[in-house]
Symmetry: C2
Subunit: 365 residues, 2 copies
């Protein structure tokens, strides 16, 4: 794998609000050279949620992203397809007590866990989802320290929530948005995407969020007759905002234009923050990870034509922060990063965007 220059962005964001702060983000993507380890190529990008990631827990969030990347890459190196790899990443992310998915899911108003999750295969375009999946026993989670704390906190939080609602106070608890997700491209160029979420903390029982909904939580679509690029997207954030904008599919469509970075930025600005479907919202909270790939030939005359897979990967968020990890099948280890809005930028009104590019070259070439 050869890491290309990171995509840098310097953006002044017009928006519906005049208080929007300009966001300047320059990617720290290093120009690294790894030795070629496996015979297979492939790439994974994961996230542990768009929301607020405290500095004190940064290490744990990064660690789980790293492990998730490694699990996916192990699959890819063993010759698995994108859907298997993306599943492996999700299982690892769900098994962490720090993420709001699977084991670490937020509790609903009844103190129970109800999960949303979905997966999409870019090759077959098949999609599967579960919404408000219950049947988890809280008792089974009590050994887990975080869950125990949460269980004890539910009653207190419930009282506070009721008080807040009574006083009509706007509560944007961006710390509770840490849905997880992953996007993968495999050696054959197939893409897959997945997302998993415990949903809003103290949600009403039966509430279903974006992670279970078609077009909203994840999207994957291999290149086709009218699509020069294969694209995979996974979203995180406020479920209502992501659903009403059908954000995953919207990003995927936008990524068919030439400049992926510009396309994603415009989507986040115009179709998310500026969406008429969210005109009454004070802030629009969400984040996406996207990956797009296409085969290309660096030497047009070469018989090795289209052996190389060009992978562009980006993350963008309007929340305070977003924790991501990524890794190629030929990397020694995953890179992790907590992307943050710059100081002064207002969450829900500003967009951060970062990413990188890599070329995956088949070992034979």
């Amino acid at each position: 794998m050869i890491m290309e220059k990171g995509i840098s962005s310097v953006e002044v964001l017009p928006s519906k609000s005049s208080q929007v702060t300009a966001v300047k983000v320059v990617v720290k993507e290093p120009e690294t050279k790894q030795t070629q380890r496996g015979k297979r190529v492939g790439f994974v990008l994961v996230h542990a949620g768009a929301g607020y990631h405290s500095e004190s827990k940064a290490k744990e969030y990064k660690h789980v992203c790293k492990r998730a990347c490694q699990k996916a890459i192990e699959k890819l190196q063993a010759g698995a397809l994108a859907t298997d790899a993306v599943t492996a990443a999700l299982i690892e992310l769900e098994d962490s007590p720090f993420t709001n998915a699977g084991l670490g899911s937020n509790l609903n108003l009844l103190g129970e866990i109800e999960c949303d999750a979905s997966i999409m295969d870019g090759k077959s375009l098949n999609f599967g989802a579960v919404g408000a999946l219950s049947g988890f026993s809280l008792a089974a989670f009590k050994r887990n320290k975080r869950k125990l704390e949460l269980a004890e906190k539910v009653e207190t939080d419930l009282i506070q929530l009721k008080k807040r609602r009574q006083s009509n106070e706007k509560v944007i608890d961006s710390g509770t948005l840490d849905t997880v997700g992953a996007v993968v491209v495999d050696q054959e160029g197939n893409v897959a995407a997945a997302v998993s979420s415990g949903g809003l903390a103290l949600k009403h029982p039966g509430r279903v969020g974006q992670a279970a909904l078609y077009g909203c939580g994840c999207w994957a679509e291999n290149t086709g007759a009218h699509s020069p690029y294969s694209t995979a997207v996974s979203t995180s954030g406020c479920g209502e905002h992501l659903v009403r904008t059908i954000l995953a599919r919207e990003c995927s469509c936008a990524l068919q234009t030439e400049d992926a970075h510009q396309a994603l930025l415009e989507t986040m600005q115009n179709k998310f923050i500026g969406s008429p479907f969210l005109a009454n919202e004070d802030g629009v909270l969400g984040g996406v990870i996207v990956l797009r790939s296409c085969r290309y030939s660096s030497e047009p005359e070469s018989s090795q034509e289209k052996r190389t897979l060009l992978v562009e990967f980006l993350w963008s968020h309007t929340t305070e922060s977003m924790c991501v990890g990524y890794m190629s099948a030929q990397d020694g280890k995953a890179k992790t990063h907590i992307s943050r809005l710059p100081p002064g930028a207002v969450a829900g009104q500003s967009v951060a965007i970062e990413g990188g590019v890599c070329r995956l070259e088949s070992p034979e070439s």
Copy 2:
């Protein structure tokens, strides 16, 4: 209300299959003149499903559509907004034992009822949905003759279904697709749409279909900065096909172009039957009712500018038949119609499209 000429269509449909049959449909929309009854204007279009409606039950289907229209119009005449009117229509449609919604819902593999439904308000763009809503007692429905028959049929059907699956036989039981829905425009020009379904007969418990999913079962969007028309759409048919194509929203977007009839036809051909997301399906089964409206002035110099609401209404289906009803607030009674593919046309590969236009003029003008 003045009924304009019906939209007639003579279409030869190219499609992914060479066996597609040309569909010729001429609308029977009569040029009627009604006396002005109420002071309010408004229009409702309902459907009792795209599927197969036997001649023997045609009367019942038409009758429930007529009653649903009347309920909606009563609301509109009383000054209610589109969302209230569309709800009134849905309640009537759900309360019929002949439709696959509410009372008459198909039973799942456990012999229980689980309903999907959603509603969208074009003014606020708010959307609400329930999926696999259970808690209905079968015992409570036993007094209902159809339900009793169904309950007794479940075991037999289950055995047959298992046999079919074992023999890998393709089963398209289009008789089970009779979801219901309605679209409404009120005197203020607001649109609303709703849909309700009992889902597939003998579905797996917990299965959620298009009627519960954003963008898939219904869509309503008032005119806006970038939308010259207010649009409302409700879909019916095979849930998987309607979900994977996000058909309600797709139709709504398409309806912003000038020729509504052409836009809907192209959407049904290219984004539904010809969708790459359904490339592996033998037949693509669904139907939509759509309504779009805009204010216009018949006399540009007049002070009555934009007092008139132009309403175009259409239905289109790839199923054998679709039962619809429609009514204006100034009509004496609803019109009902069972639209059918012409003889020889293959369900799942052919499109029928019909509709009409009416002008709603405020009594004061």
